[in-house]
Symmetry: C2
Subunit: 202 residues, 2 copies
DNA sequence: GTCTATACTAAGATAGAC
DNA sequence: GTCTATCTTAGTATAGAC
């Protein structure tokens, strides 16, 4: 392996590390309160060096944002695909919720926020992000539509508000979730039975 | 009314207006993305003039934060107090949820956030805010404890996680709530029946 | 009470050496 | 690839006139 290849590996390693660090800090203290110098410090380098890897702070934000949404989609899809064909709605919902909670735990919730996020970014990237969001929403909509058809749930076919409440509850979990006390799997089960059965005695 | 009194009225009016504007902008675009110049512009004055009314941006944040929590507490208390003595848990929960949603709609949710909010502030103010938060949490805890004692709900006496999911769902509503489509009262009823009965057929 | 002018600071970003 | 040094911009905040 020659010097050039090593340098290239170093670049890939540094880029990946910077993304990890930035994602962590964004989750911990928010994007606005995370500076390039903060990220650089934790990475053990100077802020200017980051610009060798990324064109701007916005570029970093976009990379992480996009990756987070993609990750949520991927994890939910995989969790659902792993289930046996005959799995009912409750099981499928629990799998999806748990996968989603895991992503929220790893990346925080900023990937689900639109309003606060106005990084001035190229139209292509904005559009790609919009598409990803729609894709994620579609997964949930389909899941509920299936459940509706199978008669496993009572809500209307157009289940928007119920879905918004459920996803909101999951999104907010980033504020209090402590995986050392309850694993995402445990929380996912709790959320599922809460959402399915409520808290009133049957 | 002499000139001095008028000046005083003007000051009170301006202060109140600035708080309203700041609260709106914080909700719309987030605290970090709202500058003193932004606030001043919407208020029709120069940024430096704000400092006649408030010592700093942090002072504004704290005023709004404190007022928002106080408002949530006040509205829930009043909504519960207005109910007939014999009102059951479901009715009481619905009243509290609706009151809370109204506050979320008016002030956004940043009043419920801790992690992102690190305005370096005097210990006294920080402590006062902490107390208010505890007070708000206590109201919910009591409500659920009552419901538990009356046998109206199935969850354990220590109902922390269920409460966190419910409040999370309500907090997140600030991201999508559109009162021109559904009023807080309608949404409150929907959230209540969702939380009480779930979506599975009985 | 609000203005103009300006000080101060911190952040994002670039240039060029090594 | 990362450094030092520096530019530029934008934000909070102050001083003093009116």
């Amino acid at each position: 392996m020659d010097a050039k290849a090593q340098r290239k590996d170093g670049a890939e390693y540094s880029s990946a590390m910077l993304l990890e660090i930035a994602a962590d800090m964004f989750r911990e203290r928010g994007i606005a309160h995370t500076t390039m110098r903060n990220i650089a410090e934790r990475a053990g380098m100077k802020a200017s060096s980051i610009y060798y890897h990324f064109a701007s702070k916005d570029a970093i934000i976009d990379r992480i944002l996009d990756r987070s949404i993609a990750e949520a989609i991927e994890r939910i899809r995989r969790a659902l695909a792993e289930l046996p064909q005959e799995a009912g709605f409750r099981v499928r919902l629990c799998a999806a919720v748990t996968a989603y909670l895991t992503t929220v735990n790893d990346y925080g919730t900023f990937f689900a926020v639109t309003r606060q996020l106005r990084s001035q970014v190229s139209p292509e990237i904005a559009e790609r992000n919009r598409q990803r969001r729609i894709e994620l929403d579609q997964i949930w909509a389909n899941l509920f539509a299936e459940g509706h058809r199978a008669g496993d749930i009572t809500i209307s076919e157009k289940n928007t508000i119920e879905r918004l409440f459920l996803l909101g509850a999951l999104n907010w979990a980033t504020e209090w979730m402590d995986t050392s006390r309850k694993s995402p799997a445990e929380l996912g089960q709790l959320a599922t039975s809460l959402f399915m059965d409520g808290i009133a005695p049957r």
